[in-house]
Amino acid sequence: MKQPKAYFFPLRPQNRNGGKLRLSSKLRSIQLIITLTFTAITVLVALIVSFMLYNKFAKTAEENANLNMQQIIEQVNYNLDLYVRGMGNIFEKAEQQITTSPSIDSPLMNEKMGTLMSSREDLVSVAVFTPEGEYVVGTPGQVMRQNTQLESQSWFTTAKKTSEISYSAPHIQNLFKGHYTWVVSISKMIQYRDNGELKTGVLLIDFNFRTIDELSRQVKLGKRGYAYILDPQGNIVYHPQQQLIYAGLKYENVEPVLEYAFRSYLDESTGEKRFITVRTLEQTGWKIVGVAYYDEIVTTKRDLNQFLAWFLAVVFLCVIALSVFLSWLIASPIRKLERTVKLVGEGDLNTPINVSGAYEVEQLSKRFNLMLQRIRQLMDQIIYEQETKRKGELEVLQSQINPHFLYNTLNSVIRLAEQGKTEEVVTMIQSLSKFFRISLSKGKNIITVQEELDHIRHYLVIQSFRFKNRFRYEIKAQDEVLSYQTIKLILQPIVENSLYHGIEMMQDEGLIVITAELQDELIVIKISDNGLGMSPETLNTILSGGVKNGGGSGVGVRNVNERIGLYYGREYGLAFESELEEGTTVTIIFPAIRNDEGAAEQKEDTTKR
């Protein structure tokens, strides 16, 4: 608990004045990085794709619109061409009738004129004038007005100038009584017979705008688009807003149109983008001009725009939502893991880690859990081992000066002294003295095998006095074994066991054989007796500490086993072979380590498990 506090305090001031550092670490969070990159990439891709799509579609739409418009204007051009040809035909027919007629003022002529007039609704008037402007003949029933000024009118002057059929600009027909109508006049110098006399005159046929209007009105170029007709001089023949233009309220920029006979272009002179398509009629030289508003005919473009805008907006929102969610999905278990690990780091090893999420994170958490478990296990083991070691050492320390054993031995010495067996007393005291010297051995834990064997020999000497020579003993050791080292007091508890449990109750003479030899870098010490032996049950419980040997030196067999295990490793220790009524053999196995390397080995051993 102390550590986090010590960790938190220095961080606080840093927090206060180091906002930038905080931000940068936040910016480096997985979630933010994933969100930003994911969004950025998707947005970029979406933008690029939609931009390309937009361009492609817009271009196609524009081309289509342009083409479509050209086709419409072509169509109008074709229809008008037919119409103008029709007008020409009528004019030629009238001319033929007049020239072939024997006399211009015959009733037949009049009738023919009448038929011609009634044949077409768009015919306004037919008339023949002398080159001086005198009215000769015309539609029956029409009366000339005064002050017509026809000699100065364009249809009259051009007819006099050329021998071709001429088409006039729109003008007011003011020749005959009745309505003033806007007409297009067709005129030509012709020859006619008046009372057999061949004369020249001007034939005039006026057409109103009915058909031209009808033809042009059909043109649909978007909502505001329209088509108009110009004559070669730039006069407007037809315009859907003709009156507005005539009144000077609207203006049509005809100059660029007049220069070309056949053209399509984008006009921006009015401030608005407009597609202009120009076609020219052969006979009259009239120009049909289609005007379409760019932003209107390319409605697909605008629709596309709108669609793309919405589409992108939705995509962006989805992408942002998705990336935030996705990054949260990835980052949140990691963050949870991090928090848990932090808790563990603060010392709470029992923190359970149950992080669910992505497979990797789950695995990580699982492994981490296993690791924690193992750490806990190891820590428990270390604690346990440390405890046992300390306890064992304490026991050894105790056994070094075992009062009970000392008291028993001293009793035996007293008894021997009383009997006057001086020699035996000396031997006994000598053995006891040596026994204790090796037991203590200046507080060292490690002694040589020689010393250990000496130690057990002294013990057996002492015990043989106590047991009144009811047993024999043999100690056989290879010479090379003697200089190897061993932990002290490992034989005494086993021999003690053999004496008290194996031999003491026996009627016959007991035998204890101790052999020590070197086998494959291992030291093998065997202690065999021919005592009562043990049942398999006792054998099983003996190492797990079930049997407590009352009396004796107090250092238990189990203690020996554990000490060997702790010093040399768990694979070393005691092995028991026993048969009831036959005897018991205890084998001690531990690695052969030379005396001079003792100190280093010992240290290493403590760290080993």
């Binding site: 969100t35 807003q241 009156q243 309220l249 962006f316």
Partner: protein, 340 residues
């Protein structure tokens, strides 16, 4: 962390939105026609070629700007009360804008103020109205028109002789009935034309304006007034008529009587007037631009509704037409509406 992310997301959204909206081009320069506007046009009279042409122009603009045009007019140019009732009705109907050709300068003033009070823009066409709340006036300069008429007539008379004027809806006529005394209850355009004419004629000492008659805008009445005037002043050398009906009436009388010695300068360009002009009965006519008036009135009404600044006064001009120039292409276009 949360707030930071929130702001970043917001910023990104804004950026995206900007980039998306930048696809759109800026708002179009032409007047938006998505919404149908309701505009009431109230003129002086529901008859006559002049008002028909005004209506034509208004309808052309209505079609162009997606306007639902309601055309209203009393039977007579002198029916002020009827016109006031019509404006009141339009206010009640919540028209988006009102276009008014006032039959009386002062008579319509109050109701126009009322309309302005109800936030209905009022556009004056042809004849002004005595209200400061009118958004714009579209029409010709009547004073100038009167002067043009006088100039030509005096020129035709070679500077001497008696002149009779036939005008319409006159203030003095109303002052006899009304109680307002000196207040100008006549139509502004009629007054101005008359004033222009008289002021010009006053420069010529030998010119004597012997009589000014006022017709209530009906041809028969105008004919009657002309006949009376001719009877009363046998030495009359010239007649000036200051509106369409007066011109038609006077022209008819002169034509029927075959009075070649009487010179006449008419007003406006009805087809019958043009025929009289062509056959020489009438020597000249002062024309206005009724089509433009109608068209521009509606156009400015729409612009005013859109919040566009409209000019205070739009002069559509007047022109003197005689036999010689009537067939000039540009005059043809003004004289004869290209009606389909």
């Amino acid at each position: 962390m949360r707030t930071l992310r929130f702001w970043l997301t917001l910023l990104m959204c804004v950026l995206i939105w900007l980039s998306v909206t930048s696809f759109y081009n800026a708002s179009p320069t032409y007047i938006s026609t998505d919404r149908t506007r309701k505009i009431d046009m109230i003129v002086k009279m529901n008859r006559g070629d002049y008002w028909n042409t005004v209506k034509l122009g208004a309808e052309a603009a209505a079609k162009e700007f997606n306007v639902k045009l309601t055309f209203k007019a009393p039977d007579s140019e002198s029916d002020i009360d009827e016109q006031i009732a019509m404006v009141e009705d339009s206010i009640k109907q919540k028209a988006d804008a009102i276009i008014l050709a006032a039959s009386s300068y002062m008579g319509l003033a109050q109701v126009v103020d009322q309309a302005a009070y109800d936030k209905i823009p009022v556009i004056s066409v042809d004849a002004e109205v005595g209200s400061a709340r009118v958004r714009t006036y579209v029409g010709s300069n009547s004073y100038e028109a009167g002067q043009k008429s006088a100039e030509r007539l005096i020129q035709l008379l070679k500077g001497y002789g008696e002149i009779g004027i036939i005008n319409f809806t006159n203030s003095s006529l109303n002052t006899q009935i009304g109680s307002a005394g000196t207040i100008d209850y006549g139509a502004r355009d009629a007054d101005e034309r008359e004033k222009g004419f008289l002021n010009y004629a006053a420069r010529y000492p030998n010119i004597d304006v012997v009589q000014i008659s006022y017709t209530n805008s009906n041809t028969a009445n105008a004919e009657e007034l002309t006949r009376l005037m001719l009877l009363k002043h046998p030495k009359l050398r010239g007649i000036a008529t200051l509106n369409e009906t007066a011109s038609q009436g006077a022209g008819k009388v002169i034509q029927n009587l075959g009075l070649d010695k009487i010179k006449m300068v008419a007003f406006d360009s009805s087809p019958s007037m043009l025929e009289l002009l062509q056959d020489g009965t009438v020597q000249a006519t002062v024309i206005q631009n009724p089509f433009s008036n109608g068209y521009l009135a509606v156009k400015y009404a729409v612009e005013a509704l859109e919040g566009v600044d409209v000019p205070e006064r739009v002069d559509t001009g007047t022109k003197l037409i005689d036999l010689e120039n009537m067939l000039w292409p540009e005059n043809q276009k003004l004289l004869f509406p290209f009606v389909r």
